[in-house]
Symmetry: C2
């Protein structure tokens, strides 16, 4: 198919001139034929200004109408399935099956947010009615709800070209909240990004959305993302990527005249604790499960288990042999882009040289973007001595560390940085679980998993995909599930507002029939 | 009465040695006799460590038990009413009547949060039940709720020695959320702080709370606050004060190994728009109301109206004469401390020298901490030309600016920094209100008021006392009302948790009878 190659600024195409780049096929190392043009300073400004102009219109659109828009995007993506599924493998080396599945998830997310905003309960509507005769001063009428924060800059993620990129979770939740989106395509999949961006714009057109409700900028985070985040019209940032990139954006956002929130999902090693009973009774199944989890998507998931903690002893030794042989067989694959492969090779090679670490599996995949498993063995005490050994290694690698006591295990967990997830594998005979262990894990993670693996993030109302720094730059929120919408809102109240000036969510008589807290009582 | 003078570290007194200071009576300029000791580095560390140790215990205490604790604090404050009301005027120059009223508000806030956590609905409990037979992968059981973020550093505010200080809104909401509190007493009211701190500790003792659930540090924000905010055990910060102080703390918090959220309420000029009809028909009443609002508490409220926008013309001229004469009569009063008086004199004097500004009232109050009203006149176009004229002046001062058209008015509002409040005074004949004006104000404020004055912040479920930067450093939240609790929580979920490991909020059968979202349906 033919690509435009330009940025998509509101309802116009950007310019097909200036600095340009090609997508790369990570599997072959070859340049893809299509040319893409980096958004110019003017285009970045225009996209942000259009979003600013669209905001007062878009934020006032009803939940039902926003739902229609989100569902229209989902349908347009479905209509582009063939093109998207063909393009994803070329730009990311992810197989077509994965692209198909991820597109399903992307569509599901959009429909989930459509249902949420159509229902409307999410705004946390609160009404305290007036008491004009109260002494010594009358009580005013106060009505509050969550309102959209303003135009949002969304960065496409390398490891989810669909579900966390142009039409992914950040865009879906921001649009659902009532915020226009200016998206920066990930430079490693500009073609997939354009397809998704065009799908959104077709939907926006068809639903009569104001120009600027969505724009897509081509280029890199440094060239395009930094000026966009600095732009006064932008009021929040959604990002999934490296710690380096996330921290750089947070710094830019904090240095603005008006600092803005940055939701950056950055770095997590998702520790898994194997309790002695689980290791003894289910060692083989756990080794197989872990190998699947570490290998999945060539290890390029934010929930990849990068640290496994096992009780020292013969069961641990047996588990390691078993697990190492499975990983040895798994062979690895092609990284999403050569930058990831390069970083992976550097960090695994460095780690293998650390004296406190034994390399159980270490296959040198020297060709281009291909990466192979690296499995390390060490002890909890070595990790406590050198916490840099717990830094994230993005790829099919994990570190197995033995612990000698529950106290040591708890101490290590308390010393870890914040994590998206923490997992305990137990045997039923080990119930009730140690409360110190549960408490220590809970204080370090956003999701606590029992007898499972962290990869596989259910998209639902209860999901929390977030966690203390550096798992995310803002550990209060989630980037998956309906809770993600509240990243892009703020609390706002009216005092003694005239009836016709109130939004439907706050009007007397509850015309939308949503859940509301009236004088402290929840009613719906 | 005799004061301890030391910090209160958990259930022990700090040391009565090292660096020390006296409270000052701002009205007389005289040192108060009691000596207070600045918390040492060791004491700061000990308070933070005790809070860290108390956290796993305190966060697991039931809502009912936390409610008991909060109500016990309220009762202990009531029991100390006489002492507190006697001490407030000595340290702050606020009259006894204000101290009495503010204590009532402080007690009311504690009881409000007690009711909230006893009821328990606030945790936003969500349950998605498992589908073990789902294809291609089983759906796990996911359950989420808001959990406390960890120990919180609370800074006492100079302008609310009770309601926004040691036992004030930040402490009440953090304790309600399940977070231990380490409070830094405001150096200008160390005695009031000690009384409130001792009330909290008596309540903590009586309710069997873990040591470290509360500590009070004496000293200044620079000496004591900065090291406390840097301490790894501290996970969030509550602050009300100057923009300079708030930004300094935000910088310290961002530079930590694990950056933490800072809720700093800093700077707001709370614009009031007078529409032509309101000015014509109610000019006199509005002038009287405005004079009351500007003078209240010697103008030392974060909601003080620092900017009034009037339609150019004879009605505006008449209003100004009228208002100026009322302010002239009001005479001012004594500032909370000499630092505020000094800053007020500097900024009013500078402003009066600006050529774009006419001084309508400017009384030079040269004695010590006394401050007198300064009222300025200018035009919207001058403000647009020099936005530094819209910087907050903390004290009994306001600027009256005339606008020539709705477009100019809207443009000016769009150019303002973020505000806690925005107000429109209209005459019923002017309904419906201009939607551009409403939209512009809404996008710049946390609370939009019609036909009222911003001073007077109702403590209730719907109140939003917050707003875009620099009104607050985190414009998503509120520091007044029940919504304030969510500043000190984060989202957390369990995946496939065993029943006995779940908190009551998330157990099958809903033992607490709270509102929960089960598979997307709100039930209670």
């Amino acid at each position: 198919m033919a690509f435009q190659g330009t940025s998509l600024i509101g309802y116009s195409n950007g310019q097909a001139s200036g600095s340009s780049f090609h997508g790369m096929n990570p599997a072959s190392g070859a340049e893809l034929p299509e040319l893409f043009f980096t958004a110019s300073k003017d285009e970045i400004d225009r996209a942000a200004r259009l979003a600013e102009k669209a905001f007062p219109v878009y934020r006032s659109i009803s939940g039902a109408k926003k739902a229609e828009f989100l569902r229209a995007i989902a349908k347009e993506l479905e209509a582009s399935r063939e093109l998207l599924v063909a393009r994803v493998p070329l730009e990311t080396a992810l197989p077509a099956g994965r692209a198909n599945g991820e597109l399903g998830r992307t569509i599901g997310q959009l429909n989930m947010f459509a249902d949420l905003v159509e229902k409307g309960d999410w705004v946390d509507a609160r009404i305290d009615t007036a008491l004009p005769d109260r002494s010594p001063v009358p009580k005013p009428d106060i009505r509050s709800m969550q309102v959209p924060i303003g135009p949002v800059a969304v960065f496409g993620a390398s490891n989810f070209p669909l579900a966390f990129s142009v039409a992914g979770g950040d865009t879906a939740s921001a649009l659902a909240a009532g915020c226009p989106v200016v998206c920066i395509a990930h430079y490693a999949h500009p073609g997939v990004s354009e397809l998704a961006g065009q799908a959104i714009l077709r939907a926006a057109h068809a639903c009569g959305m104001p120009e600027g409700v969505f724009s897509l900028l081509q280029g890199t985070g440094q060239e395009v993302g930094t000026p966009l985040v600095s732009h006064p019209a932008i009021k929040a940032v959604g990002f999934t990527g490296s710690r380096f990139g996330g921290l750089a954006l947070a710094k830019v956002a904090a240095a603005r005249r008006e600092p803005i929130p940055v939701y950056a999902e950055m770095s997590s090693i998702n520790p898994i604790v194997l309790l002695p009973g689980a290791l003894e009774k289910s060692g083989e199944a756990l080794a197989a499960g872990l190998a699947g989890s570490v290998s999945m998507g060539v290890g390029q998931f934010c929930t990849n288990p990068g640290l496994v903690l096992l009780p020292e002893g013969p069961d641990a030794d047996r588990f390691m042999v078993n697990f190492a042989s499975l990983m040895d067989e798994s062979k690895g694959g092609t990284a999403l882009h050569s930058g990831i492969a390069k970083a992976y090779k550097t960090s695994t090679s460095e780690k293998s040289k650390n004296e406190a670490v034994t390399t159980l599996v270490g296959i040198d995949a020297s060709e281009g973007a291909s990466v192979a498993p690296w499995i390390f063995r060490t002890t909890a005490s070595s990790l406590l001595h050198d916490l840099s050994l717990t830094d994230e290694v993005f790829g099919p690698s994990t570190t197995l560390a033995t612990y000698t006591s529950m106290a040591e295990l708890v101490g290590l967990i308390q010393s870890l940085e914040g994590q998206l997830t923490g997992t305990i594998q137990y045997d039923p005979s080990e119930l009730p679980l140690n409360t110190e262990l549960l408490g220590a894990l809970q204080s370090r993670v956003g999701r606590l998993i029992l007898n499972g693996f962290p990869t596989g993030v259910e998209v639902c109302h209860s999901m929390v995909h977030g966690g203390p720094f550096p798992a995310t730059s803002d550990g209060r929120s989630t980037s998956v599930g309906t809770g993600a919408i509240c990243r892009f809102t703020r609390s706002f109240c009216f005092q003694d507002m005239v009836a016709e000036g109130l939004p439907n969510e706050l009007k007397d008589g509850n015309p939308l029939g949503i859940a509301r807290t009236v004088n402290g009582q929840l009613s719906h």
